[in-house]
């Protein structure tokens, strides 16, 4: 539970043209994520699996993604996933201790994933600004077959 806990770096993809790794930045727990076929990432819908154990309730849930290149945040994207009056996800309202699991297609809001070497930091926070999940994703993408 100490902040110094180092979670392992997980490999999501390791192919010739595409490598994706991630590491949890939540001191309380690791984060579970995988992609069914990395080659599908070239298309903009692909199948993922993701799971977390909630350490906090998510009556409200906010996602924030930063695109970091050479240590600099060059793009920030945030989205409200759960808020009073609009629960976009069926998980909204879940409580501390519940296990969330999603398995299925994900459609990227962007047309293609950026090429090059970069890091995406992703954080989910709740109504009390508690970290619900946090991950640093390292991408080396040299796919050009769109």
């Amino acid at each position: 539970i100490s902040a110094s806990t180092e979670w392992p770096t997980h490999t999501v993809c390791k192919e010739d043209n595409l490598e994706i790794y991630y590491k949890s930045c939540d001191p309380r727990q690791d984060f579970a994520f995988s992609i069914d076929r990395c080659s599908d990432i070239a298309t903009h819908t692909f199948n993922i699996r993701a799971a977390i154990l909630l350490r906090h309730s998510i009556k409200e849930l906010y996602a924030k993604l930063n695109l970091i290149i050479n240590g600099k945040t060059v793009l920030t994207y945030s989205e409200t996933l759960c808020e009073p009056g609009l629960s976009k996800l069926i998980f909204c309202g879940k409580k501390k201790g519940e296990h969330l699991y999603y398995e299925g297609p994900v459609t990227l809001g962007i047309k293609e994933i950026p090429q090059g070497d970069y890091v995406v930091s992703a954080e989910l926070t709740n109504e009390d600004h508690d970290t619900v999940a946090c991950a640093y994703v390292t991408v080396k993408n040299y796919l050009d077959d769109y």
Binding site: K96, E98, G104
Partner: protein, 632 residues
């Protein structure tokens, strides 16, 4: 939850703080303990017998036996979330006669003894979320007669058949969300006929059939969120009566047929007041769609992918609340508001298109009290006299988080009874000779946070004699100085003033002297070097937040007036912890009960003490010719 101690049993040092803090709504602090995630394998013996609230989540208790909690005779609430509990033996809560709430979320229960819940005189809430339950019969019903809330979400229940001794006497809330219930027969739920005003949650069950008449009793709320077969559900609900019916859905749900008038036909045979349809897709939204909705009090169409409500809807005279959030209206007139003459609440928040206000689009809504137009990309070059005309009953108006409003005269004309106006994060261009809010004599709350407002307009707050709350945070003041000017002159009833993040470097000596009732001032996140108490006309019972400023030293004369029930926040200031600040340090330690966030109230000087909490600093100062000697 914030107020729990981390399973440390000495709360005295914080108790005073907690008692007087404005923000913390606590219950019997020294009877509440938080042992969350400490890896404990038993209840610590040090927990007092008087403990009423215990958060023991994320520990390790594979078996609950009649000795496990036997010492905690005063427990009201016990949270055992994720404690790896598999076995609940006879009389596990036998000694906990006062227990009202038991949370067993996230434990894979392998056995619940028939006497598992015997003991408590009136157990009210039982939370069995994600406990692996596959049948209602797994839960022993002995001594559950007092239950008002039973949460069974995220289990594997596939049959709603209830045990014959299922407790219905006091039950008000029964949550089956995300189980595996596909069909509901009348026999299954016949016991629920004995309840009244119950809330039943079936969200996330793929319900394909409900036997007509299964829910003939008077329910309070039914939630079928995410269920695909709305006609099937409505057929099953025929002839039933209730307050709320939740038929919305969620992102990523498969099988989402369009909503057509046929789909909602079944509502003609159901008496329900509030209907929620979030995230459903409407196909050909025409007046027929409203045929069976005429008796509704509230209609929530949040993000239902609509860009207009058809003209000519008739019969919606009962509708008091219409929620149109997160849709894509291009013009406010496209909601054809005249069809809803009884509206009291109208929400068009988070519109995905630039929403044009037009002129008089809402003028028939003479009863409207609450209007929310926030986050809707609104840009108006003459706001909002004509655009929001006719709203003679309006009390609350939210235009925050829009793009830009130009004010050429009074902000709003017909709404003299407005009590709350939120313009936060919407750029305001004020081009008036008199105060734009001068006719709002009843306004109590005004939020102008981050509105790029020109604070040098002297008559800005003209006429706001009822104002109690004013948020000016994230606006700039000329030269970074809060002058002793007349800006606040008429705000004689103001109690709360937010000036955080205003880049303020200095505050005039008498800046707030006209605010006689001021009791909560937030000056955090500014560039203030001085802690100024002179600026306030009275320091009695005041809350002053100076966090995140540049204060090094506070002399004795600024501290002395802080008598009575004051709360001061000095966190995140570069406080000097040498003898030159002995006044503050001495006062601080004598007045810990007045300090908010003592954990982050730290020294920055001297270097060797940097980061120490002020409360832990011991100085021994004597005046010598050369200066002050400090012994840390």
């Amino acid at each position: 939850r914030k107020h729990f101690q981390s399973c440390s049993f000495f709360m005295s040092s914080l108790q005073g703080f907690l008692k007087t803090s404005l923000r913390i709504n606590f219950v019997a602090v020294n009877k509440s303990y938080n042992c969350e995630g400490l890896g404990l394998t038993k209840i610590p013996e040090e927990l007092p017998v008087t403990t009423e609230i215990l958060d023991f989540s994320f520990n390790v208790l594979p078996s609950l036996e009649n000795s496990t909690f036997s010492e905690l005779k005063s427990l009201l609430l016990l949270d055992l979330t994720r404690c790896q509990i598999n076995w609940v033996y006879d009389g596990a809560f036998h000694s906990n006669r006062q227990l009202k709430t038991l949370v067993l979320t996230g434990n894979l229960l392998m056995f619940l003894s028939d006497t598992a819940f015997v003991g408590p005189q009136s157990l009210k809430q039982l939370v069995l979320t994600q406990t692996g339950i596959a049948s209602m019969f797994f839960i022993p019903m002995t001594n559950l007669d007092s239950l008002d809330t039973l949460i069974l979400g995220n289990n594997h229940i596939s049959s709603l058949q209830l045990p014959p001794n299922f407790p219905t006497q006091n039950l008000k809330y029964l949550d089956f969300q995300m189980n595996n219930i596909k069909t509901i027969t009348a026999a299954d739920v016949s016991l629920l006929q004995k309840t009244s005003n119950i809330t039943l949650i079936f969200k996330g069950n793929d319900i394909t059939y409900i036997e007509p008449g299964a829910f003939q009793s008077n329910f309070y709320s039914l939630d079928f969120g995410g269920c695909a077969d709305i006609p099937g559900i409505l057929a099953g609900l025929q002839n039933s009566t209730g307050q709320t019916l939740w038929l919305g859905t969620f992102h990523g749900m498969e099988k989402e047929p369009f909503i057509t008038p046929d789909v909602l036909q079944g509502l003609c045979n159901i008496s329900v007041k509030d209907l929620y349809l979030q995230l459903r897709h409407f196909k050909n939204l025409n007046t027929d769609m409203f045929h069976c909705l005429t008796r509704l009090r509230k209609l929530d169409l949040t993000q239902t992918h609509i860009n207009m409500l058809p003209a000519g809807i008739s019969g919606m005279r009962s509708l008091e609340e219409l929620v149109l959030n997160a849709n894509s209206f291009e013009h406010l007139c496209n909601i054809n508001s005249a069809s809803f003459p009884s509206l009291i609440h109208l929400h068009i928040k988070g519109n995905s298109e630039l929403l044009q206000l037009g002129s008089g689009c809402l003028e028939k809504l003479a009863k409207l009290q609450h209007l929310d137009l926030s986050k809707s990309y609104i840009k108006s070059f003459d706001c909002c006299k004509e655009a929001l005309s006719g709203l003679s009953s309006l009390r609350q108006l939210n235009l925050s988080h829009n793009i830009k409003l130009h004010l050429h005269d009074v902000f709003i004309k017909d709404s003299a009874s407005l009590e709350l106006l939120d313009l936060a994060s919407t750029a305001l261009h004020i081009n008036t000779s008199q105060g734009p809010f001068r006719n709002l004599h009843l306004l109590q709350v005004l939020n102008l946070s981050s509105s790029h407002i020109n604070t040098s307009i002297q008559h800005l707050f003209q006429g706001l004699e009822s104002l109690i709350f004013l948020d000016l945070s994230q606006n700039n003041f000329e030269l970074g100085i809060m002058q002793n000017n007349k800006l606040f002159q008429e705000l004689s009833n103001l109690e709360v003033l937010i000036l955080s993040s205003c880049e303020l470097a200095a505050i005039g000596n008498q800046a707030f002297h006209s605010l006689k009732k001021l009791r909560h001032v937030d000056l955090s996140h500014n560039k203030l070097a001085a802690f100024s108490t002179d600026a306030f006309s009275s320091l009695k019972n005041i809350y002053l937040n100076f966090a995140h400023n540049r204060i090094h030293i506070i002399p004795h004369d600024k501290l002395a007036p802080l008598a009575g029930h004051c709360i001061i926040n000095l966190s995140y200031n570069p406080l000097n912890c040498t003898c030159s600040n002995i006044d503050l340090i001495t006062w601080y330690k004598q007045n810990l009960d007045k300090i908010e966030d003592p954990k982050e109230t730290r020294c920055s000087e001297p270097k060797w003490h940097s980061g120490a909490q002020l409360a832990t600093v011991s100085l021994s100062c004597g005046i010598t010719t050369g200066g002050i000697i400090a012994v840390v």
